[in-house]
C-alpha cells in the first residue's frame, strides 16, 4: 500500500500562471478530500468527492479554483491565474468511510 500519492511535491509558478495538482487516492477508497495548509489559516477544507462525484465544495474559493475526479484513481486541483496568496501546502486525503489518510502534500509557491 503506497498510501496517498501527490504530485508534484513542490511547484513554483509565476503570478498569473496556472497550476495543476494531482492526487492518487489509496486503492479502494471511495472518497477524496482536498485541504490547504498555511501558517495563517492552518489546515482548511477545500472540497471532496465520493465515488468520483463532487459532494461538497464549500471551502473552495469561488474564482480560479476547480477540482475534478475523472476516474477512481486520481483527482486534480487546478488553480488558474495563481496569486501570491495561493501559496500553501495542498493536501489530499482519502477514506473508505471513516479514518482519513493524507498524502505528503504539494507545496505551491507563487512568486
Amino acid at each position: 500500500n503506497a498510501g496517498v500519492i501527490q504530485t508534484p511535491r513542490h511547484k513554483v509558478t509565476g503570478k498569473g500562471q496556472e497550476a495543476t495538482l494531482w492526487c492518487e487516492p489509496i486503492s479502494g477508497h471511495s472518497a477524496v478530500f482536498w485541504y490547504r495548509q498555511t501558517i495563517v489559516q492552518g489546515l482548511e477544507f477545500l472540497t471532496y468527492f465520493r465515488n468520483q462525484a463532487p459532494i461538497d465544495d464549500s471551502g473552495m474559493p469561488k474564482e480560479r479554483f476547480s477540482a475534478q475526479m475523472p476516474n477512481q484513481s486520481h483527482s486534480t486541483l487546478k488553480i488558474q491565474s495563481t496569486q501570491p496568496q495561493d501559496s500553501a501546502v495542498y493536501l489530499c486525503a482519502s477514506t473508505a468511510g471513516y479514518e482519513q489518510y493524507f498524502g505528503p502534500g504539494t507545496r505551491l509557491t507563487v512568486l
Binding site: F33, G42, L43, E44, Y48, R50, A93, Y101, P104
Partner: protein
C-alpha cells in the same frame, strides 16, 4: 462556524515526562482524529475515535462527544515525538465528512 479549539499551542517536555493536549468543540462532533505532523510535513495518523478511549504505546486518546472534547496524552516522551500535533473532528452524521482542524500544538521534546 464550527470550530475546534486546541490547547496548548506550544509545549516543551523533557525526555521521559508526559503531558496532555486537549481539543474542545463548539458543536457536537461525530468523531475525532489525531495526527502528528513530522518535520517533512507529513500528517501521520495517530488515532481515530468515535467514542471512548484508545491507547497505542505511549499515547492515549479519549473522545467525549457529549461534553465536546478530546484529549491526547503522551507519556515517557522521546525526542522523536517532537512535531506538531493536530486534532480534527467530523461534524456530520454520515460516514463521509470534512475534517475541521484545530490550530495545532507544537511539541518540543528536549534532553
Amino acid at each position: 462556524g464550527d470550530q475546534v479549539e486546541q490547547s496548548p499551542s506550544a509545549l516543551s517536555l523533557h525526555e521521559g515526562t508526559g503531558s496532555a493536549l486537549r481539543c474542545n468543540f463548539t458543536t457536537t462532533m461525530r468523531a475525532v482524529q489525531w495526527f502528528q505532523q513530522n518535520s517533512r510535513g507529513s500528517l501521520i495518523n495517530l488515532f481515530y475515535l468515535a467514542s471512548g478511549t484508545k491507547e497505542n504505546g505511549r499515547l492515549k486518546s479519549t473522545f467525549n462527544s457529549k461534553e465536546s472534547y478530546s484529549t491526547l496524552h503522551i507519556r515517557d516522551a522521546q525526542l522523536e515525538d517532537s512535531g506538531t500535533y493536530f486534532c480534527a473532528a467530523e461534524k456530520a452524521s454520515s460516514s463521509f465528512s470534512k475534517l475541521v482542524f484545530g490550530q495545532g500544538t507544537s511539541l518540543s521534546v528536549v534532553p
